[in-house]
Amino acid sequence: MVLFSKVVSGGIDSVLDFSIEKGATAGIVTSREIESEVIVRLLLGFLAPLEGTISVNGIQPYLLNDKNLSEFRKSVGVIYHDGGFISNLNVWENLTLQLSYDGSSKKAEIVERGMKSLETVGYDGSLYVLPNRLSILERRQIAFARALLMQPALMIFQSTLEGLSRSEQSRLSSLVLAYQGQGGERTSLFITSYQDSLKGIQADLIYNTGGATQS
């Protein structure tokens, strides 16, 4: 469960007050892109709220020490609008970095899971190019594939469906829908400043930082 209780933070004009149940798909519509970025940073513990409390599955990320915060972040998958890659690592290295760092999987298993994940998101480009060579869609596909590898309890999509053509948008939306359709207690959170981009997903709740909530 994601809970924002009377949260005040720099970069956000209004007080954030909402909760998202475990397993739900929710959209948060912000008034501008910077608000989306701040909400993601608050969720990941990069920022602490000035007022109020934030909890993700009962954990208040901003109160954790470095080690516990790293562990917590492993349970959250984030698809940033630009992919969120390390620019001097190629596609494959970026994809498998987290899994490889985690150390719980053997090399052969990493290769197998990595390839399967890429197949799931429909990426068929080169594995050895640097991320700046990729299109926006490819970046988000790979970011999604990377997040899928860790099977996170919470998946955050930051402006993931923006800046794409209609066909690209529907392609990515169908991937997300397929992911959501797998059930379980997976929570998906779409944060965007462009409400129309949420049309393609079946959100249980859409919260507008301006105040209006649609269920």
């Binding site: 080690k67 001097n88 970095l97 490889s100 760092y101």
Partner: protein, 258 residues
């Protein structure tokens, strides 16, 4: 005047404090790496050894030949051609103990120290360090510790190459140009080349490597929101490294003398 001195003293204090904190972080990260992240961190470390060592090798190769020839030429002029053993001793005292660690450090400062600062500065500016931390990877463990270790190891290896090439080229030129018997020079080298001399040279190169990388990382990680801070970070890393390496050189030499 007083405020100028005060500002500089404060800046020096902050740099040294940062350096100590960074080394503490490196040690902590090293311990963490035993638990997890070995494979990825080792990969970054090996890359750093390769890039620092490989890129600097050509320069070190040329400079070490030049230094070897220059030292032997000067020594042959000031001493009697028959006193080959003195030339050998001077080679150990001057080249192996002092010049090799210093010159290899200067090459690495110019090439890798600034490169590390600029690379990390760019990563910081583009939000990549935060992206890394989003994956549950600690920036210090993945970015700083392997670079510090990698540059230290690379400099240690470059120092060995420098010594071997400088001594070989010196021996060759002295034999070819001044007809000094190689056995005389070799005798001189062997008579003073103790484990202690090798330890001084090696410990200097390792220490210089750690410090150069740490200062590069520190300058890079301090980049804020402006792109103009990236070249500033590169320059700062070079200047700080130069000053601290020369000071450390004196300190290490004195430590081993007394």
């Amino acid at each position: 005047m007083v405020s100028y001195l005060g500002r500089n003293a404060l800046a020096a204090y902050i740099t040294i404090a940062d350096l100590i904190t960074l080394f503490a972080t490196v040690i902590r990260s090293l311990i963490d790496t035993v638990v997890h992240g070995r494979r990825s961190v080792a990969q970054v470390c090996m890359r750093q050894v390769f890039f620092t060592g490989n890129e600097a090798f050509k320069v070190v190769f040329v400079v070490s030949i030049a230094v070897g020839i220059a030292i032997i030429s000067q020594m042959s002029n000031v001493t009697d051609a028959g006193r080959g053993s003195l030339i050998g001793k001077v080679f150990v005292w001057v080249v192996i103990r002092e010049i090799a660690p210093l010159i290899t450090a200067l090459v690495v400062i110019a090439r890798s120290g600034s490169a590390i600062a600029i690379e990390l500065g760019q990563m910081k500016l583009k939000g990549e360090i935060e992206y890394l931390e989003t994956l549950g990877i600690q920036g210090e463990q993945y970015l700083i510790m392997p670079r510090v270790l990698g540059v230290g190891v690379a400099l240690f290896i470059l120092n060995i190459y420098f010594n071997l090439i400088a001594v070989s080229s010196g021996l060759f030129v002295s034999w070819l140009g001044w007809h000094i018997p190689l056995s005389h020079i070799k005798q001189g080298i062997i008579s003073v080349l103790t484990l202690r001399e090798l330890l001084i040279s090696s410990s200097k190169s390792l220490l210089f490597g750690f410090v150069i990388a740490a200062l590069g990382c520190n300058a890079g990680m301090r980049v804020g929101d402006s792109i103009t801070q990236i070249p500033q970070a590169g320059t700062k890393s070079v200047i700080h490294s130069l000053v601290i390496v020369f000071i450390l050189d004196v300190l290490v030499s004195f430590t081993f003398i007394f």
